[in-house]
Amino acid sequence: MTTRWTRKDLLGLRELSAEEINFILETADAFKQVGTREIKKVPALRGKTLVNFFVEPSTRTRTSFELAAFRLSADVINISATTSSLTKGETLKDTARNLEALHADILVLRHSSAGAPQFLAQRLKSSVINAGDGAHEHPTQALLDLYTIREKREKIAGLHVAIIGDILFSRVARSNIFGLLKLGARVTLVGPSTLVPREFEKLGVEVSHKIDDVLPKADVVNLLRIQHERQRREYFPGIDEYIRLFGLTKERARFLKPDCLIMHPGPINRGVEIDSEVADGLQSVILDQVTNGLAVRMAVLYLCGGIST
């Protein structure tokens, strides 16, 4: 491991090299172990202040960042806001001014507009961590997915990963695509043509509209939630039809390889994109993803928040 970490911000996986991604994953190995200690807390970021700024609602990601910060001994402030009354530009400028006034060292930002974290990263001395920006990127989710695959299968290169569902609106899918391709995986996107348009092939992935063709060949299936809140018009006729065509039902799960991993970034719509029996089955690593998310976020906060700026 000779790579050096030089970034104050984590905005997306598109801009990271394979070496940098691997460096984060290896750093996360060390932080995962902290959770098994008698004292589950290290002083690495003692005296630093982290602001969780979530303009869009989120419980699991915010909680995961908050717990990660606690375990690194940072102080945490949670701010939630709505953008409804303010235009995007004004909000972000105000945000930047307020955060500078608070002397925040690390800003974890979730925002409905793509590019919002980059906008702030360029204007703030603080570290900016993207916790999801619009339909653009959600780098820590993809990193925890990569970490979980690497942990369970001991490698990523050469594995065939199927990402199934609402790709068009999914920042999780985009970050996963960038990360998986950089680490040498083969990626197939699966879903209705309205949600998985052929344009994605330009990124270097395969696109399929037939889940039954893909499932028997996959080493990992990553199921995405149908994002009702991001869809401005109907992209498929109805939930029943979606389940029939693309849901990972228990009947379909029988066609998976026995060692195929089943992943989901949560929250799960049981009975829609995945059946309860499958989500709770032996191949499911959904709760490992949650545990690993904490280690990966500790690593990211340590690396970005720890470098001298």
Binding site: M1, W5, D29, A30, Q33, K41, V42, Y302, G306, S308
Partner: protein, 186 residues
């Protein structure tokens, strides 16, 4: 690489492979003398050369007493007090310790003892895993200039240095170079 070569030509050799071997063997003898309950001893190295030195001490103890001492590694990066002040972050590694530590004697092993801040971080890290009966400290080289009230129990070589000098330890297993301790004047 080129720069490292230049430095080594300007450096003063302090210990060669044989001197390092003898120093580590003497530390092994001293550990045996000082710890009647040898089986309770754990040798915990600070990565990466401290881990290698701990392994070598354990091998000598095995040769002398035919007892296998447990060894481990303790990460100190996340326990340091200078995060955010250094241009380059120390690489964080997972610790490997035989658990539980209760009732055991943990001997921290490092290549060079200097300010004592790394050892303080190592003690904090060890305490987060449990409460050993006692903690001792072994260093291949003690170069002085302590900034904390920390004193080694086992020393391979006391080396008076100036603050501007650098002590370089090279070990075959960790550096791919012949065993050597050298002093670089700046």
């Amino acid at each position: 690489m080129n720069q490292a070569k230049q430095n080594s030509s300007a450096a003063v050799p302090i210990m060669d492979a044989e001197a390092i071997r003898r120093a580590i063997r003497r530390i092994a003898h001293e550990i045996i003398e000082r710890n009647p309950q040898l089986a309770k001893v754990v040798l915990v190295g600070i990565p990466s050369r401290g881990v290698e030195i701990a392994e070598r001490i354990a091998a000598f103890i095995h040769d002398i007493e035919e007892i296998d001492i447990e060894t481990g590694a303790i990460d100190v990066a996340m326990h340091r007090d200078d995060v955010g002040t250094r241009a380059e972050l120390p690489v964080v590694r997972a610790s490997k310790l035989p658990l539980p530590l209760e009732g055991r004697t943990v001997i921290i092993v490092d290549d060079v003892l200097y300010t004592g801040r790394t050892v303080r971080a190592a003690m904090d890290a060890i305490n987060s895993f449990g409460r050993p009966a006692r903690i001792q400290l072994a260093a291949l080289v003690d170069r002085g200039h302590r900034e904390l009230p920390i004193r080694p129990d086992y020393v391979g070589k006391n080396l008076p240095t100036a603050g501007s000098e650098k002590v370089q330890v090279r070990l075959q297993q960790t550096d791919g170079e012949p065993d050597e301790v050298r002093l670089e004047k700046q």
